[in-house]
């Protein structure tokens, strides 16, 4: 069976205003009221790679407890994706910066 390349599926409340942001430099659009996690995972399959295993991670508890949904911004900040709302112009990175 076909599996989509993204994780989350919108089921309701899709008639919201769009918000533009970038993911790894790619311009994307989310909806006002999306968390960073929702914005990313509705069109991508992970948030970052685990610092110890290098394996992809996409959050787990969605309520600020597991701390596994941190994602980097191009400014070098880390945001907790499940509890941070997407904002216009956010530049998010799922890849480690290459030195």
């Amino acid at each position: 069976m076909m599996t989509s390349a993204f994780l989350l599926h919108r089921l309701a409340d899709t008639d919201r205003e769009p918000v533009d942001f970038t993911l790894d430099g790619r311009p994307l659009s989310a909806l006002v009221g999306d968390t960073v996690l929702t914005a990313v995972l509705c069109q991508h399959d992970h948030l970052r790679r685990n610092e110890f295993s290098g394996q992809p991670r996409a959050g787990f508890c969605l309520m600020g407890a597991c701390q596994d949904c941190w994602i980097r911004t191009s400014q070098g900040e880390r945001v907790r994706a499940c509890s941070t709302f997407i904002a216009p112009g956010m530049a998010l990175l799922t890849k480690e910066r290459t030195l």
Partner: protein, 458 residues
């Protein structure tokens, strides 16, 4: 006199705040979320438009009543949303305001701790794959964001939330592939005498199960999760069912085993803990009114032992009445007794739920060496067993020091139950003897720049 401080704006925190306001006080309410309601009655962002019945189902009336109670007192409290209490000591809280990335001290002389609960997790190989979420997380995705965690979802584990979330997903139009419950039907039958003490709650549970069956969602009981498959995301669940291995294809998994209380702040406050055989965990001790063992500290809601949302509302109100009485305010003692009696009356039902959905006793024995226990730092069951063998560690904080399990970003929230069960199994000691993982501030990650700033200020 300093205003009382309430940590948490879920059912317990909101009712506590309301009670204090009704007696003329203006409490400070600190909450990590952007809007009050807690996890169970979590509110969607303001520009979402689903009606409460769609979000909260049979609990819509309770949810809207709690939200209304909070909105009604909002101009009579000092409300601090999006604020994380990351450290606490006598007379002092450290609070991080996330949007402004600033931390400030909040002095307190009386404190109501209503920190709630998160999912209780026992890991299965593959649980770190993208597409795998906790049951509570699966529910948050739907309730708070209008999203399903996948297009073909399996719900697995045990506890009342298992059937509720499956029902909510199916009802919202998601394809629920199956519900896989580790509890046996016999467990649920054995729990019947206690379950029927709350006929309406029990009736709802039965309704979810029969609705799922009527809509063709397969329910398997008495299963054991074996592994989740997938390369970069989950694509199947392998489980043992009636002695043989079964595989079901999916693109998302929600799993968990009921809830565990968030006790970190009670611990940092120095509250005394005792082991609860029912919950298989050490819990902060409180009297019937909610007073903790430390002067000026009151404990209410699921953060002090899982009793559910209704009990949290009663306990929040009761703790606030105790705080008021301790400050010398005359309170309605008949009301206080009534709340205590309601809380006592709920205990047989909570015990029955633990009986109906027991934590799988054989998890530690069955967990393969390669299963990741600590998802923060990728520490496996085999790593922990090897340390126990090599060092003779027989206390969970010793194991933590030697292995780093529980030292990662989640501070043991996701791995603590599993690590404790593994240690108990490896040493042959009871859980209550291997102890509980101790925590340190900051209880959740805070920006390093902030720590430096604080240190600089000293």
């Amino acid at each position: 006199m300093r205003p009382p401080v309430i940590i948490g704006a879920g059912p317990a925190g909101v009712r506590a705040a309301q009670t204090l306001v009704e007696h003329g006080l203006r409490p400070i309410v600190v909450d990590e979320a952007a809007r009050a309601g807690g996890q169970i009655y979590r509110r969607q962002p303001a520009n979402f438009h689903r009606p409460p019945e769609q979000l909260y189902g049979t609990e819509a009336g309770r949810a809207t009543a709690l939200h209304a109670a909070f909105d009604d007192i909002s101009d009579r409290i000092d409300y601090r949303p999006e604020s994380l209490v990351w450290n606490v000591q006598t007379g002092w809280l450290d609070v991080l305001h996330a949007p402004s990335a600033t931390t400030r001290g909040v002095p307190w002389s009386r404190l109501i701790v209503a920190t709630g609960a998160t999912d209780r997790i026992l890991p299965v190989p593959g649980w770190t794959l993208p597409g795998v979420y906790s049951l509570g997380g699966s529910q948050v995705a739907l309730k708070f964001q209008g999203c399903a965690i996948g297009s073909r979802v399996i719900f697995m584990g045990s506890g009342p939330l298992l059937y509720l979330v499956a029902y909510q997903y199916a009802k919202a139009g998601a394809n629920v592939v199956a519900v896989l419950d580790t509890a046996r039907l016999a467990d649920q039958i054995a729990a019947l005498p206690g379950l029927v003490t709350r006929p309406s709650t029990f009736g709802k549970g039965l309704y979810y199960v029969s609705w799922l069956r009527a809509h063709g969602v397969p329910i398997r009981r008495g299963i054991r999760p074996l592994r989740l498959l997938g390369d970069n995301r989950v694509d199947a669940v392998v489980f043992e069912d009636d002695g043989s291995e079964s595989t079901l294809s999916c693109d998302a998994v929600g799993f968990g085993y009921a809830l565990r209380p968030e006790t970190q702040l009670a611990e940092l406050l120095g509250c005394r803990f005792e082991y609860s055989h029912g919950e298989r965990a050490h819990l902060p001790v409180r009297d019937e009114a909610g007073r903790g063992s430390v002067e000026g500290v009151y404990l209410a809601g699921d953060g002090t032992g899982i009793m559910g949302a209704d009990a949290a509302e009663w306990a929040g109100e009761r703790a606030a009445l105790a705080l008021l009485a301790d400050e010398g305010t005359v309170v309605d003692s008949a009301r206080a007794r009534k709340l205590e009696s309601r809380l006592r009356g709920l205990k047989p039902f909570r015990r029955a739920l633990e009986r109906a959905f027991p934590l799988p006793e054989d998890w530690a024995a069955l967990a393969p060496d390669h299963v990741i226990v600590c998802r923060c730092e990728n520490i496996t069951a085999g790593d922990l067993r090897e340390i126990v063998r090599a060092t003779g560690a027989d206390e969970v904080n010793r194991l933590k020091a030697l292995s780093r399990v529980g030292m990662g970003r989640c501070q043991g929230r996701m791995c603590g139950v599993a690590a404790t069960h593994l240690l108990a199994h490896s040493t042959g000691l009871p859980i209550e003897i291997v102890g509980r993982m101790r925590v340190q501030g900051p209880i959740k990650p805070i920006p390093m720049a902030m720590v430096r700033k604080q240190e600089g200020a000293l």
